[in-house]
Symmetry: C2
Subunit: 127 residues, 2 copies
């Protein structure tokens, strides 16, 4: 039985109001002023719970995990310059799931695409 919690509300609300794919620690420091008693463990706990509830997406781009409050189908680019993550919106999923299901014998539930390269700003700086 899942109970209501102010902390979980605040975490989800904060995450959904931003588009910079914060880490658990980013969220922690962002919420600390509003909820001084907040613990980092609580942020991790709730992020993983929100993920299993399908309300949040974890982007496991190596080292530190980042989170996204937008659960609609879209992809990400991990920038080699600033090591940030930016959204990549395509019109469709290119039929990736159907093609994959034809080529193998198991069950596909979801998929994620992670591009590697340089974001708009870092691209300009490199010329």
């Amino acid at each position: 039985m899942q109970r209501h919690s102010r902390q979980r509300d605040a975490i989800l609300e904060n995450l959904c109001s931003r588009y910079d794919h914060p880490t658990a620690e980013d969220l922690y420091f962002s919420l600390k002023p509003k909820i001084p008693a907040l613990s980092l463990a609580t942020v991790y706990r709730n992020l993983s719970q929100l993920e299993t509830d399908g309300k949040v997406i974890r982007i496991g781009s190596g080292g530190t995990a980042r989170y996204d409050g937008n659960v609609n189908l879209h992809y990400h680019l991990s920038c080699l310059g600033c090591s940030g993550v930016v959204d990549i919106f395509l019109d469709d999923d290119c039929g990736l799931t159907e093609k994959a299901e034809k080529s193998f014998d198991g069950t596909i539930i979801s998929h994620s695409v992670l591009f590697t390269g340089y974001c708009s700003e870092c691209s300009k700086q490199l010329g």
Copy 2:
């Protein structure tokens, strides 16, 4: 100046001869009998070197990284049942890179697709 090393050869050879996407530790234990003095640090060191040399692919599916000696374009499925990783071969990349380049202002170097679901064996068991 990169020097030759028996350990690196053995790691690459072992990785390329198998299709189970082993972790660094898997490779370590697999090679230990043949090279008793091998250190786990050496395995990590060489895997990351082989990765930057483009001879190996790191699959950063959350927790523990797995490695793939097949550097040709193909994708992976992370099985929710056995938590293994299996290959997904598609005929093409569905034009993913071109579509993404049109929809955003930066530079794309590569991409990876990770499907989530159940492998052939785990699918059958679930019926």
